[in-house]
C-alpha cells in the first residue's frame, strides 16, 4: 500500500525545482516494483558448488571429491574447438560446469606435458601458479554451452510436420516411421491432405542413371540428395562417408562459403593447392609483429583463445607488436606496453586498397627480402636459411597473342626440349628454375638463338605493376587510412626479418575481397616468413584419424562409390565444362554470361548451394538434409521471399529433413526433424585450426549420457539415422563389412562407437603409440562406464591406448616440438604463388574474361565485374554494414543459453560519433537501417573506435525461430521465449547482385564467398 503519492514524493526531494533532465529519473522505474521480494540469502547464493578436488597448498597433494566426475571434451560454442573439462555430478549425471583442458594447446599456455598423470592435472584447478600447472580456460561462450544440453526447447523426439511447411505444427513420430518414410517415400503427408508423392531416399539413390539425360555432365540421379553438413565438428566425416561414398551424391556442403571462404580460397591460390585446401596463421607464440585485418584477436577469429592469449602475452611482454586494421575497434587491441600496437580504422570493403598500398610501399622502398625472393627452389632457399620459396622470379608470358599467354614460361616456349619453368640470370639469360636463383624484376622480350621471341615479365614485376595502379595517396583516399600510417605499417611489417605475419578471417567476406585477401597473404612472401619461427604456420596438423591409419582405414570400404558430376553450388567446375556452355556453343550463341556464376576455385560453397536450390540451376535437389546447419539465418541475403517460397513448396523440393537440437530457422521449414545429440553427448575427433604449431587431435566422447532416446542403432542422433537408413537400404560401408584394418580383416559398423573408437585407435597408434592408461585414470574418469558396452569394438591392446587418449581429451604434441632451429617443424612443402597460373587461366563465367593472376585492387563489383558504386551510389547509400562477433554470442547458436541472453539480450547498432552528430542522432535512439534488400530497426550506440560511414552489427541476435517464436507439437505449445529474438538479425540485410536477374545475393567476384560485409545501407531515425 502506498503511504504517499509518487508526485508528492518527487516534489519533496532536494532535486525538486531543477531541470527535468537532472537526476537519475528514478520515478520512471517506480511503477515497476511495489512489493519487495522476501529477503532470503539462499535465493542468490553463488559459487556454492562443491569443489571437484582439494589441493594441499604445501605438498601439492590432490584429494578428489568422490561425488564429482571430471571428463575431457571439446567445446563447440564457437567451433574453435577448445579443449574443455566437464564437471559432472555423479549422483544425477548432470553437467555442473565446464573448465579448460590443461593438456590442450588452445586452452592452456603452456599446456601440460602429455604424459602428465590425470590426477596431477587437477593442479590446474588451483589459482596457485607456483604449482607449475597452467590453468585451462574456456571463454564465456564455452562456459555457457552446457545450458544447451538442458534447453527446455531441445528437440528430443523425431518430429513430422502436421501442417503446411513452416506452419509451426508438428507431431512426434517413432524412429521407425521416420526412417521408413524418408527412405521409402510415398504419399507420406496424405494425413494432412497433401496428396503429392514424395520420392524417398531409396528411389533417389541411383548412381548410374543421369539425373538429366540431356545434361549428363550433371552426374547421376543420386546427386539429387543435397546435404548441408555445417562446420567440421569432428563428426563431419561420418556424414561425408554416407553422402559421398555410400549414397553416392556429390552434394555434401560444409560451411566455408558462408564463414570465411574468401580467405580460404585465396590461400588455396597462394599455396597452389585446391585438394587439401591448406591455409595459414601467424605463429602468435613467437612472432614479433602481426598485422591482422578484419578480425579482433581478443574475441573473434580462430582459434580465438590461442590468438587472444598468445598475442596478449606477446604485447605485454614487449615481444610482439600488432596492428589491427578493421572498421571496428574490437577486443584484443592493447597498447599496454607495445606502444606501436594499435588499431587503424578502415572503410569497409576497401581492404584490398590498403594491402596493395603496403605492397607498393614495400617494393618502392625495397624493404622486401630480395635474398629470399630470388630463391627459385626449395633447396636454394634452405641453403640461405629460409623454409619456403616463391615463384616471384618466375617468368610469365605477357603476350596476348602467345598460345600460352598468362602462363609461366616453360623451356618448350623457348624451343628447348624440357618444360621446366624458366627464370632469368642476372645477365637476363633464361634458365630453368632448377638453377636455384632468378632475377627479380624484368619486363621485356626474350629472343632465343633460334629467333623465338616471347614477351615476358617476372611475377614480381607484374605485382609491382599492379601495385602501382594507384598512387599511395589514391589508395589512402579509397581506404581511409592516412599515407603516413600506411608507410608506418609497411616499415613495421618489414622490420622484423622473418618473424612477422598477417592474419584475417571473416572480415574478408565482402564483394571483391578475394584479391585483398590474396595480397595480404602475399605480403608474407615478400619477407620470407612462411614456415619460419615467428612467421606463418600451416599448423602442426592432425594425427592420423579419419585417414588410412596405423590400425584401421575408415576412408574406404567394399562397394564404395565415387561421386560423379557437378555440384549444385557451381564450385570446382569451370563454366566451360558445363552443359549450359556446351549447349549455347552448339547453338552458336555467346556462352557468356552463365545463368548464375560458376566458381571453379572455391569449395564448400554452402551459400551458393542454397541459391542454386532456389534458382533450380544447374539443377534442384529432390531431398535435402540440414544437419546442424541453419543457412536461412547464416547466409547473407538468403532470407528473402524467393527462398521461403521455394523451401515451403514440396513440389519444388519434395523432401526436407533437419537434424538438430533446436527448432532453427531452417529446421522450421522442414518435413521431418531428427533429434541430434549435443556435443557433450557425442563422439568426435575435431580437426584443428591453424596457429597451433604442433601436431594434435582432440577427442570428444559422450561425457554424459545422451538425453535422446535409444534406438537399435544407438542413441538417436545423425549417426543412428544414417546407420538405420543404410541398414534399410543395404548400402555399402555399414553393417558387417564396413571398416578394414591394416591386417586385412574387415570389421562391422552397427553403432557410432564402432566407427569413432577405430578413428581414435588410429590417433593413439600414429607414430610412436601413446602409453597405456593407468587403473587410476580409468577410475578418475570412470571410463568403464562409457566404454564397457562397446568393448568388442577394439582389441584389448587398443583399448588401453584409446582410453589414454580419451582421459586427456585427445593427443597433443608439446610446444617444445614446434621448431627445428628457427624453422617450423611442420612446414608447407610447396612453392608459394605470388603469381597463380591457375587463377590467371580461369575465366569469369559472366564475362568470359580471365581473372588477374596476382593481387591487385579491385573495387567492389557485381558478378559481371560492373562497379557496385554505379548502381548503388555512395550518395544514396552512404553507410556500409559490417558484422561483428559478440563476446557473448557466436555463430548462429548460443541464444539457447539464458546466461548469455541475460548478459546481453540485444545487439546495438554501432555508429561513429561524427556520423551521429551529422545526422542528429544519439545513443539510445531507435533507428531503421535500410539496405537495397531489407530493413531492420534497432537501438543506436554512438561510439568511437568505428570508421566513418560504418554501421557495426553483432551477429547471432534477432532470431525469429530457435525457440523465440512458438510452435505446436501434438497441439501443445512450445517455444515463445522472446529473449531469444532480441536485437537485429544481421544476415537478412544482405544485398542482391544487380547484374543478375534471378535471386542472387551478392558474393565475392572470384570465388563466390558470401559478401557479408560492406553491405550498402542508409539510416533513418524512427
Amino acid at each position: 500500500m502506498l503511504k504517499i503519492s509518487r508526485r508528492r514524493f518527487i516534489q519533496s526531494t532536494v532535486f525538486a525545482g531543477l531541470a527535468g533532465s537532472f537526476g537519475l529519473g528514478l520515478d520512471k522505474v517506480f511503477a515497476q516494483v511495489i512489493n519487495p521480494p522476501r529477503f532470503d540469502k539462499a535465493t542468490f547464493a553463488y559459487g556454492s558448488q562443491s569443489p571437484e578436488a582439494t589441493i594441499n597448498a604445501k605438498t601439492g597433494e590432490v584429494s578428489l571429491n568422490p561425488d564429482i566426475l571430471i571428463r575431457h571434451s571439446v567445446c563447440l560454442g564457437c567451433y574453435t574447438g577448445c579443449g574443455n573439462r566437464v564437471k559432472i555430478d555423479k549422483a544425477s549425471g548432470k553437467i555442473m560446469r565446464a573448465f579448460g583442458n590443461p593438456y590442450h594447446p588452445i586452452s592452456a599456455e603452456p599446456h601440460l606435458q602429455y604424459d602428465t598423470p590425470v590426477k596431477t592435472s587437477y593442479l590446474a584447478f588451483s589459482p596457485d601458479h607456483s604449482l607449475g600447472v597452467s590453468h585451462g580456460t574456456l571463454c564465456a561462450r564455452g562456459n555457457s554451452t552446457i545450458q544447451g544440453v538442458y534447453d527446455p526447447y531441445r528437440i528430443l523426439m523425431p518430429l513430422k510436420r502436421a501442417g503446411k511447411r513452416g506452419s509451426g505444427k508438428w507431431r512426434p513420430i517413432s524412429f521407425d516411421q521416420l526412417v521408413t518414410e524418408t527412405v521409402e517415400g510415398g504419399q507420406v503427408f496424405a494425413e494432412i491432405g497433401e496428396e503429392h508423392i514424395v520420392e524417398g531416399l531409396r528411389a533417389i539413390r541411383d548412381t548410374k542413371t543421369p539425373l538429366d539425360s540431356s545434361q549428363p555432365e550433371l552426374g547421376p540421379k543420386a546427386n539429387l540428395l543435397a546435404w548441408f553438413g555445417g562446420r567440421n565438428d569432428g563428426r563431419t566425416q561420418f556424414g561425408q562417408r554416407f553422402v559421398l561414398k555410400s549414397f553416392g551424391s556429390i552434394n555434401y556442403f560444409g560451411h566455408t562459403g558462408t564463414c570465411g571462404g574468401t580467405r580460404r580460397y585465396a590461400y588455396c591460390t597462394f599455396l597452389g593447392d585446391w585438394q587439401k585446401n591448406p591455409h595459414m596463421k601467424p605463429d602468435y607464440r613467437s612472432a614479433k609483429y602481426v598485422l591482422t585485418m578484419g578480425t579482433a584477436p581478443g574475441q573473434a577469429g580462430n582459434p580465438m583463445q590461442l590468438m587472444a592469449r598468445q598475442s596478449a602475452n606477446g604485447v605485454a611482454d614487449g615481444r610482439l607488436k600488432m596492428t589491427v586494421v578493421d572498421p571496428l575497434l574490437g577486443g584484443g587491441v592493447s597498447k599496454s606496453k607495445g606502444q606501436e600496437s594499435g588499431w587503424l580504422g578502415i572503410k569497409p570493403g576497401t581492404d584490398g586498397a590498403f594491402v596493395m598500398a603496403l605492397i607498393q610501399e614495400i617494393l618502392r622502398t625495397e624493404r622486401f627480402n630480395a635474398t629470399y625472393l630470388s630463391c627459385t627452389t626449395s633447396d636454394a632457399a634452405k641453403m640461405k636459411g629460409f623454409a619456403s620459396h616463391t615463384n616471384g622470379a618466375y617468368l610469365v608470358i605477357t603476350d596476348p597473342k602467345h598460345r600460352h599467354y598468362r602462363k609461366i614460361l616453360r623451356g618448350q616456349d623457348l624451343g628447348l626440349e624440357h618444360d621446366e619453368m624458366m627464370v632469368l640470370t642476372t645477365d637476363h639469360e633464361p634458365v630453368s628454375y632448377k638453377t636455384g636463383q632468378g632475377e627479380l624484376f624484368f619486363k621485356g622480350t626474350l629472343t632465343t638463338n633460334q629467333g623465338i621471341s616471347v614477351e615476358v615479365a617476372t611475377a614480381l614485376s607484374l605485382l609491382k605493376e599492379r601495385a602501382d595502379q594507384y598512387t599511395l595517396a589514391e589508395y589512402s583516399e579509397i581506404c581511409g587510412i592516412a599515407v603516413e600510417k600506411i608507410q608506418q605499417v609497411a616499415q613495421e611489417f618489414t622490420s622484423y626479418g622473418t618473424e612477422a605475419g598477417t592474419d584475417h578471417h571473416g572480415g574478408f567476406m565482402a564483394p571483391s575481397a578475394f584479391y585483398g585477401s590474396y595480397g595480404l597473404i602475399v605480403l608474407n612472401a615478400l619477407i620470407g616468413s612462411v614456415n619460419m619461427k615467428g612467421g606463418m604456420t600451416m599448423s602442426g596438423g592432425a594425427y592420423k584419424s579419419f585417414a588410412p591409419g596405423p590400425r584401421y582405414d575408415v576412408t574406404e570400404f567394399p562397394g564404395m562409390v565415387k561421386p560423379q558430376g557437378i555440384k549444385i553450388s557451381r564450385e570446382k567446375t569451370p563454366y566451360e565444362k558445363t552443359p549450359e556452355y556446351r549447349m549455347k556453343k552448339s547453338r552458336g550463341e555467346n556462352p557468356y554470361p552463365a545463368t548464375l556464376p560458376w566458381y571453379p576455385l572455391s569449395f564448400e560453397g554452402d551459400s551458393q548451394a542454397l541459391v542454386s536450390m532456389v534458382a533450380g540451376y544447374p539443377y534442384r535437389p529432390k531431398a535435402v538434409m540440414f544437419w546442424m546447419q541453419n543457412p536461412l539465418y547464416t547466409v547473407p541475403g538468403a532470407y528473402q521471399a524467393e527462398t521461403i517460397a521455394v523451401l515451403k513448396d514440396p513440389s519444388k523440393i519434395p523432401l526436407m529433413i533437419s537434424c538438430d537440437v533446436v527448432m532453427s530457422e531452417t529446421t522450421s521449414l522442414c518435413d521431418y526433424i531428427i533429434p541430434d545429440t549435443h556435443f557433450y553427448e557425442s563422439w568426435g575427433a575435431p580437426a584443428m585450426w591453424g596457429a597451433v604449431t604442433t601436431k594434435f587431435t582432440a577427442s570428444r566422447w559422450p561425457v554424459v549420457e545422451p538425453l535422446t532416446p535409444q534406438t537399435p542403432y544407438g542413441f538417436m542422433s545423425i549417426e543412428a539415422y544414417i546407420l538405420a537408413v543404410a541398414d534399410q537400404m543395404k548400402l555399402p560401408g555399414y553393417g558387417e563389412k564396413a571398416i578394414p584394418d591394416v591386417k586385412g580383416h574387415i570389421h562391422s559398423m552397427k553403432q557410432r562407437e564402432d566407427y569413432y573408437l577405430k578413428v581414435l585407435a588410429n590417433v593413439a597408434f600414429d607414430g610412436k603409440p601413446v602409453p597405456d592408461v593407468t587403473a587410476e585414470e580409468v577410475e578418475i574418469m570412470d571410463l568403464n562406464q562409457v566404454l564397457e558396452p562397446y568393448k568388442d569394438s577394439l582389441t584389448e591392446e587398443e583399448w588401453r591406448k584409446v582410453a589414454y587418449v580419451l582421459a586427456r581429451g585427445g593427443r597433443f604434441e608439446h610446444y617444445d616440438q614446434a621448431y627445428v632451429n628457427n624453422h617450423l617443424k611442420y612446414a608447407y612443402p610447396g612453392i608459394l604463388q605470388i603469381y597463380s597460373e591457375v587463377l590467371a587461366t580461369t575465366r569469369n563465367s559472366q564475362t568470359g574474361y580471365y581473372y588477374e593472376g596476382l593481387p591487385y585492387y579491385l573495387p567492389p563489383v557485381f558478378a559481371d565485374g560492373s562497379l557496385i558504386e554505379e548502381t548503388l551510389s555512395e550518395q544514396e547509400w552512404p553507410f556500409r554494414l559490417v558484422s561483428q562477433k559478440a563476446k557473448y554470442r557466436s555463430t548462429s547458436m548460443l541464444v539457447n543459453s539464458p546466461v548469455l541472453t541475460g548478459i546481453q539480450e540485444e545487439n546495438p547498432i554501432d555508429m561513429n560519433q561524427e556520423d551521429a552528430k551529422r545526422l542528429g542522432l544519439r545513443s539510445g535512439d531507435r533507428v531503421k537501417i535500410v539496405t537495397p534488400l531489407k530493413e531492420a530497426q534497432g537501438i543506436l550506440r554512438v561510439r568511437q573506435g568505428i570508421s566513418l560511414g560504418t554501421l557495426g552489427i553483432q551477429h547471432s541476435f534477432g532470431h525469429w525461430e530457435y525457440g523465440s517464436s512458438s510452435y505446436e507439437i501434438a497441439g501443445k505449445k512450445e517455444g515463445g521465449d522472446t529473449k531469444r529474438s532480441g536485437g537485429i538479425a544481421y544476415n537478412p540485410l544482405g544485398v542482391q547482385d544487380q547484374s543478375i536477374e534471378r535471386f542472387y545475393p551478392l558474393a565475392d567476384f572470384v570465388a563466390g564467398g558470401a559478401a557479408r560485409n560492406a553491405v550498402r545501407a542508409k539510416v533513418v531515425k524512427v
Binding site: 520512471k28 517506480f30 516494483v33 519487495p36 599496454s336 550506440r941
Partner: protein, 210 residues
Amino acid sequence: MNQQARADWYQFLSLGFLREPSADFLAQYKQVLHKLLKCCSPISGLYDSLVKLDECTVTAQDYYDMFFVPQSGAYVPLFESAVVNGQLTKTGFQFGLLQDRQGAEVNKIYQLFRFNPHELQIYSPLKFNPFSDHLGFELAFMSFLAYQEQLLDDGANLELRKWQSYFIKEHLGPFSSQLQTALTGKPPFYEALIQLVEQFMKVERGRFYE
C-alpha cells in the same frame, strides 16, 4: 536522517559517477550539494567532505580518462568485483577481475527487484555497460530502495530494510572502503566524491549495525 534524505543522498552520490560533468550538470549538481550542506551538521564528517567536494573542479576529460580510457594512466574500473578483489602492491593498486562473484550477485539482486540501471538517465555509454556492480549503479539502487521505503507500508519495509542492510554489508560497504585505497592520487573531484561516499557509508553502517 529520514528516508527522503537518504534517498536524496544516494541519488546525489550516484549522479556524480553516472553523468558526464558538463558545465550545466555541474551547476545543478552544486545546487543540490548546497541544499544537502544546509541539512548537515557542521561538525559531521559528511559536512567536511561536502565542503571539500564543493571546492573541487572537474572536466569531462577527467571523467573519460578516469572511467572509460584504460590507456589514460588515470583509469579506474569502478566496479565492485575489480575493486574488492584487487590489492595494493608495490607498484600501485592492482585491480581484480570484472564480473566476479560480487558482480553476479549484485546482478541477481537487481533482477529480483526488476531494477534496470540502464533505464536511468545516465551518460549514454554506460547504458551499454554490461556489468551491474558499477559504483554509480549500486548507489542508484540504494536510492531506489530508500525511495521505495517512503512509499510502502511497514510490513513491506521490513523486508526492504533487510535487503538494504545486506547490500551495504556485503557490497557497497566493502566496495567503498577498498576504493579509498585504490583511488589515492586521482582527479581531486572524484577523490573527494569517493571520500564522501565512504563518509556516507559510515553513517549508513551506523544506521543498520550500531
